[in-house]
Amino acid sequence: MADSEERHRDIDNPTAGELRTEEFQVNMGPQHPSTHGVCRLLLTMDGEVIVKVEPYIGYLHRAIEKIVENRVYNQITPFMDRVEYVSSMMCDWVYALSVEKIGEIEVSPRAEYLRVIFGELQRIASHLLFFGVFALDLGAITPFLYGLREREMIIDLFEETCGQRLTYNYIRIGGVSRDIRPDFEKKCRKFLEHMRTVIADYHALLDENPIFLTRTKSVGVLTKDTAVEFGVSGPSLRGSDVKWDVRKGDPYGYYDRFEFDIPSGQNGDTWDRYLMRLEEIKQSVKIIEQALDGLPEGDPTLKIKPSFKIPEGEYYARVEAPRGELGCYIVSDGKKKPYRLKLRGASYNNLLVIPEISTGCKIADLVAIFASFDIVMPEVDR
């Protein structure tokens, strides 16, 4: 009971600890606006203080890993779009990467550059959505409108190039599905210029807001060791002062040719995780500009047969998606279909760590913590 008494002293009312209290359970979700999908959190509460959090997942399980065992390699890319629809470029990319590694398929330099450009645009789009939704969960509506305004510009660029607004099916095995339009570069540069100026507005909107600061600073502190042990990745890991980024540590594509920094936080609290994403937007703008400068000529598409075989072998490919490390492990038995395909979503581990850091918080804090990890449920359930 000592723990429980300690918790009560934290509450503003000093006499609360003397009252006899009883624990009870509350269901948060599966249909809860702040769980960003269908995730059920079973909370054990003592008054307003959380004693235990148990996540229940599986509501969105579509058995993608099983379905793709019955599909030829080219048919699988659209499924990958649906694994994590907020950044489907990345899922296409990681899948293409693992098939290319086993099959030793050559990718043209122009395609590699386009992948970097679209991958980073996707990262910005995803972080913009995070910026809006995170603030929305904390009760501020304006940032959502700002975030979506800029995200719309990126989506328009995507739509012009590949015809889709959410599930792009753009990065294909051996290249990309089609070349960019002649005016893409001009439009993209215009957007980047715009993004540089509005990012200051974003900071101005939230960074000095006392309500926002109180609700994020020192809330849900994730220590360095816990973050690494639990396999947390992406901005959530870097917020805990771990300078680890797949783009630097295990460069894929042409990432070793670009100049950019890895931002990292100090305290690992909700505030740091929020800030990491805004910093990453700035770095992504830098990368895209370099990629546009060096974009080589050539044909970025690869004409391959609808169904083809890759040799026996296996490879675990990974990319740095907006939410963290996205992995794709393929075992090939030399046939037209993958023998086994395993996906590793960043949100899987990021969700796993939430119960560790949210005991002792209040429900309103849990909403902030959950939102700061930017969990996307289809990636967890697959």
Binding site: R71, V228, E229, G249, D256, E259, F260, D261, Y316, R344
Partner: protein, 172 residues
């Protein structure tokens, strides 16, 4: 490739793949065997019983420092038994390691590595649920992806009977 890292502060010496493998084979002798999977990836096969010991070693060793679990996958090889494939990497040294554990298909069992790598929790649970691999010592082996009253076997196994409702694709 690694030399181009200019603006990133992490950049301590990196072990070659065969150095990682020989370090493990020296330490564990015949419990660990070298595997050739892909030229870019160091890989070893480990006996089921000594897995926690190996996990503890690769995490604690200063040169290896494989502190991060990337993924755990079950693989059903039918006549060749089953496999648990562990992908580790190091957040400080930038190298990675694949560990394979061969399992008996009749009675697939593997000890848990939650104590060393808490992040392995749900991957192990998933392998238990979808492949029927018994995870010895796992604190919570409960269904979480399939429906609670699922009784149609282990769907990710290769010999799983799909039933009538499963729509198969026509052959290309």
């Amino acid at each position: 490739m690694k030399s181009s890292r200019k603006s990133c502060p992490i950049g301590v010496p990196i072990l070659e793949n065969n150095q990682i493998v020989s370090k493990l084979t020296e330490k564990f002798q015949d419990k660990v065997r070298k595997l050739e999977l892909h030229p870019e990836q160091a890989a070893v096969a480990v006996e089921s019983a000594s897995l926690p010991e190996v996990a503890q070693f690769i995490k604690g060793d200063q040169d290896l420092a494989l502190d991060y679990i990337m993924s755990i996958s079950g693989v059903d090889l039918l006549d060749n038994g089953m496999e648990m494939v562990y992908h580790f990497c190091s957040t400080t040294q930038d190298h990675r390691l694949t560990i394979k554990v061969k399992l008996d298909r009749e009675k697939p069992e593997v000890p848990t590595i939650i104590e060393q790598f808490p992040g392995a929790n749900w991957y192990e649970r998933e392998a238990w649920e979808l492949f029927g691999i018994n995870i010895l010592g796992h604190p919570k082996l409960e269904r979480f992806l399939l429906v609670e009253d699922w009784d149609e076997g282990y769907p990710m196994r290769k010999d799983w009977d799909e039933g009538k409702d499963f729509v198969k694709m026509p052959e290309f």
